[in-house]
Symmetry: C2
Amino acid sequence: MFSYTITHASTETGARRGEYQTPHGTFQTPAFMPVGTQGTVKAMSPDRLTEIGAEIVLSNTYHLYLRPGHRIVDELGGLHPFMGWRGPILTDSGGFQIYSLGALRKLSEEGVKFTSHLDGSTHFFRPEDAVAIQEALGADVMMCLDECTSYPSSWEKTRASMDLTLSWARRCREAQTRSDQALFGIVQGGMYPDLRRQSAQSTVDLDFPGYAVGGLSVGEAKGLMYEMASIALEELPANKPRYIMGVGTPEDLVTLSGLGADMFDCVMPTRNARNGTLFTSAGRLVIKNERYARDDKPIDETCGCYACANFSRAYLRHLFMAHEILSSILNTIHNLSYYLGLMGRIREAIVTDRYTTFQRNFLSSTEGENKNDAD
Amino acid sequence: MFSYTITHASTETGARRGEYQTPHGTFQTPAFMPVGTQGTVKAMSPDRLTEIGAEIVLSNTYHLYLRPGHRIVDELGGLHPFMGWRGPILTDSGGFQIYSLGALRKLSEEGVKFTSHLDGSTHFFRPEDAVAIQEALGADVMMCLDECTSYPSSWEKTRASMDLTLSWARRCREAQTRSDQALFGIVQGGMYPDLRRQSAQSTVDLDFPGYAVGGLSVGEAKGLMYEMASIALEELPANKPRYIMGVGTPEDLVTLSGLGADMFDCVMPTRNARNGTLFTSAGRLVIKNERYARDDKPIDETCGCYACANFSRAYLRHLFMAHEILSSILNTIHNLSYYLGLMGRIREAIVTDRYTTFQRNFLSSTEGENKNDAD
């Protein structure tokens, strides 16, 4: 039901081009997964997602568990028919959202007790619950419950947290009952090279069909993030998909793909879209700026998305200033098109064996520089 | 450039089936015009509007004048390219929005002084300005500046208001410079049959290419509204389009089409969509109701719109409860599909000479009864 095929490995970098077959279809890697937190990618209908080339979406277990409830989703046939998305879906374990609740959660070896951000009700997630809930949701790929170490943390605290994540990974593996879902292990280890390495090796020892690297982009410097990702990626088996969780900027996707990452997710393109920050081949564009009031050019003249093909910056600025829903719709179509288009360029550069050049050009260009008219 | 053709007149009622040719294409009548207040039909992209069969949209002069400003729209080629809508557009005169400002506006024979709801700035609209602004916007059909009499009003006050509207209609006609736009006159006269008749006759004397009936649905009883509409419609020439402004419910569209109205606009389908009230063949459905939490049926099993073809009531309830943008998108697609579908049924009933039966069945059905699970 699942198979991961590397169709081309970069000769000069760690980058790989592959395809991951799941019960709901195959997606091309390196892949970016638009985030559909509450069972919908904000402002996007499934047909639009298909139109712009999305092949897999991510949804959040924590949010769906609280609302509408995983039992309701299960009764309605699972997340695929519920949200009207026929392609592959990945659900996270809820671990990161619970971690983000801060003082509202309490950890023990057994699991995590937390307070709902919606109504203050108390809940308890054991690793077994995270799996059972994800089985009810029915995504193609599910994630082990992990603890995301806060940053900064001492070596001792990070080590204890890593051990907890490993112990939970073992229990998640035991708890899985469905064979039509792939359960991925998660590498933690904070910002300590030895712990990252050890976490990766021990997680690999548990033999998952795929591996994620978690606990990145939590406040650390960019260089440190790349270093930790690199250490973890090196330890992960070449023949299995490698997913960097919750990352990142266009530059991150280019850099981490070069280190051998295959899958990414991030709210950046969708959230920025709603805030009016647009990704373009000439850097970021903040649509509310006065300078766009009479600008009849599209967001990005090199982009062929529905927003760029049909509307001017002046109109998009108007929609943003007028708080129109169409502003979020068109900006999201554009930003996700940019991200998905970038993944296409990454895959193309791998296949044509010019990844080093591509990466250098990208990172030194306006696009890679993040030249931003918000700054 | 403009021509109105009645292709079929009902033998039993005043209803007529026609088509109105404009510089941006032809639309079928009786027609419903989705409202695009700020240059966008809320939550709808132009391709979706086309997909659901919209042929003409309405936009609001008052709103576009204030933001982004008619000069900017003009610089960008007019409203059609600005909003990416290639079909016919009608702009109102701003009169009704200014009337709705209440204490924030002051009328004189010369025009109306008003305070912007956006920033408190002061503005003055003469009838000539309303035309100049609408010429800058470039809609296919524009409307004379009128005064909408408040309800209730004395006969004397209503008469004076009607006279002002007539005097302004004359000035609007004089002010028009473009021949690729049709300027419609507006019948007022409040709730007085003699004034409605007189207003209609005097407006017709000014010889406009089309006529609207304004000042309806301002708080009066339904029967009174139909009576006033009927009196006005009887006075209007049969060979010109007749537009009932700002009305109404599905029952209103059926009833008023039976009296010979050709065009309608109303925020009801779009605003109700965002508030979660959906129009169906079995009456209205309030999607937030608990009873839909596990309901795997579509909004309306007889509807083929994108929302009904792909999503359950349970999912739509979830989106609504979770305040997701997709809730507004899908609900709007459905409600506008319902309205546009209803217009198709109205036109079909006219052409097949069974309007009386259609109207009786519709008004006595659940659909016509407005049986509402909100009640």
